[in-house]
Subunit: 201 residues, 4 copies
Amino acid sequence: MRTRATSQYRAELRERIIQSAVENFAKKGFDKTRMEDIAASCGLAKGTLYLYFKSKEDLFFALCEYNLEQLRNQLSRLFSKKENIMSDAERFYDEYRRASLGADTIWFEMIALSTRNPKLRKILAENQNKVYQAVKEFLKAQIERGFFREDIDVDAIAAGLIALYNGLATNKLLLQTSNSESQRVWTETIRAIIGAASSKQ
Amino acid sequence: MRTRATSQYRAELRERIIQSAVENFAKKGFDKTRMEDIAASCGLAKGTLYLYFKSKEDLFFALCEYNLEQLRNQLSRLFSKKENIMSDAERFYDEYRRASLGADTIWFEMIALSTRNPKLRKILAENQNKVYQAVKEFLKAQIERGFFREDIDVDAIAAGLIALYNGLATNKLLLQTSNSESQRVWTETIRAIIGAASSKQ
Amino acid sequence: MRTRATSQYRAELRERIIQSAVENFAKKGFDKTRMEDIAASCGLAKGTLYLYFKSKEDLFFALCEYNLEQLRNQLSRLFSKKENIMSDAERFYDEYRRASLGADTIWFEMIALSTRNPKLRKILAENQNKVYQAVKEFLKAQIERGFFREDIDVDAIAAGLIALYNGLATNKLLLQTSNSESQRVWTETIRAIIGAASSKQ
Amino acid sequence: MRTRATSQYRAELRERIIQSAVENFAKKGFDKTRMEDIAASCGLAKGTLYLYFKSKEDLFFALCEYNLEQLRNQLSRLFSKKENIMSDAERFYDEYRRASLGADTIWFEMIALSTRNPKLRKILAENQNKVYQAVKEFLKAQIERGFFREDIDVDAIAAGLIALYNGLATNKLLLQTSNSESQRVWTETIRAIIGAASSKQ
DNA sequence: CATGAATGAGCATTCATTCAT
DNA sequence: CATGAATGAATGCTCATTCAT
């Protein structure tokens, strides 16, 4: 408590609150989570949250931005690598899982909410677009290096890969597949897509 | 009006209530929608809803089942056809759009809620599994007929196709792509997957 | 409870709530009075109040209007009489007291609040103006009938009488004078004013 | 700045806080004014106020005493003068206005609160009594000097004058009369009262 | 069957006050 | 002396649900 006034301290506490919020929202959803729950989770008093976030909704936005940044980093990191795409893809699932630990619920809630909340929709759209651009750049690079055929529909394939990625989260919940199965789905499907686009044959 | 008590009448009113609920939930989300809103939407009094559904949650379940049945029919219809898969795929987008008109929001809300509600999770999982089985049967049939290679990972590809399908709903919201673009994404990606699995080469 | 839906029933309940609100606001003031207190006072649940008044502030407004109407009736009745003004004045204090039973506190709170609330200010101003006009009409009538001199400043005297009336409420609280004393103050002061204006001398 | 701890410094700061409190209470009322608002108004931190006043209520009391002293001085000054009462009265309105600049709201709030707060009631009552005595002394002096008739009801007239004075504050708000009109009301009414009491006729 | 008045649990938010620095 | 981060009690309002009509 010595460093209370530091901006460093404030930033850390802010992050701690977000972490607690993630845990709670993931467990109970936005509406069923009470500000008091979140406060208790990080050993603070209810009122303290309001020193860091203007409202419950504001906290949720901050949480979204925080989460999205992590996802973005993870995905663009994967696709920016110059190495063999398949070996990367195989390594992908573990990272994928780690980043979204328990946050799947929130992810769907975010999307649902975004259809009614322009502010949130904007954040999500911007985020998704960044990823979209990164994937497209990756595909173009592969073409230039002669690994992919020149006539593939880059935009469509990029969007398709993202859809696959997004869809895996849904599958995970709805088909309740085991982790290893999930990994195989991703690898095999991506292999199919990449294989078809590949110019090696 | 003498026949009001008919079970036919009851069934119809029940459905009308579900329709109103869909509209309202889609517009405002589950929590922000009040029972009174739904009642007003179909010209009934608040209390009347409770003659048809035990609770707000119960109404939401009924709505989910109703929606899922439609989706299931649509998807399994597509994959049960013995004809050329690609021509079907190209026809797919329109049906896809029609079925999910305005209900995308509810779809994500359903998924989010299902992570906390075992009863709903069960309904969703069963539903998704039926579709999964249908897709697998379809793939196996293609192999038997010699259209697909024998060594493809049927389970993974089936799950991948479903992920792609699910992911398209997410893309639609997050990338805000136009309809024609969305259609192309689906067609091209499926073409890539199918093409790779194809034994024609 | 048989007549629940009647508009008569609704009107009566509305009035009962206002009565309870008066008691509570008078005892504890606007801010210290909780909606629950008021509800309990008339044997209702908190939520029921909101079926009759949109908010706590709305209830306060309704209360103000109700109170003002009573005061207005009382005062204008007094000044519209064609008889001897002094005997009326002497009878005045009892009526005055009866109408403001326990509501003095609210009266001051209303005035204080009106300085920050345009809506309330308007109600109060309109009300006071009606009384002002009534008093002026009365004075003019007295002049016409030859009881008052023609050169008196009708506007000023009317405003003065009202100030005296309003000031008595303040005196009552601040000088804590007995009822009989209060009555004498009113009678004597009015006698002085009237006497000075009188043309009989 | 070395002399900060001086009692002189403390007294001045205390007064500055009261001034800020007056401004804030006048603008927003007691309940809607936050300690932080007051602190900000005089460039202090929230916590600092508590070094000078035990609580928000305590601050309000101090403010009342401060205000009352000013009013008392003003009124008793007026009535203690041995000169012509009418010329004084005519001069009165300007002083009256100056003293109550923006503080009318607080005045009514004080009165309303006093009905529930014995401590405040006591302060207000003592204050008003001092004024009452001063006015009575003045009237008696006028009688002794032969300016007023001997049979006037000194107590009642004194209380009446005070009621008139108090009532003017109410009128000012409720009739929203212009300044010049307000002045005329006071002068004319007092002239009527004094005239009636006068023995000159 | 249908109604809608009444209920009351539930929660976000505010702000006076404290106290470690 | 001064600060302002942290506290947590307090309360207005909403809305799912019930039930007398």
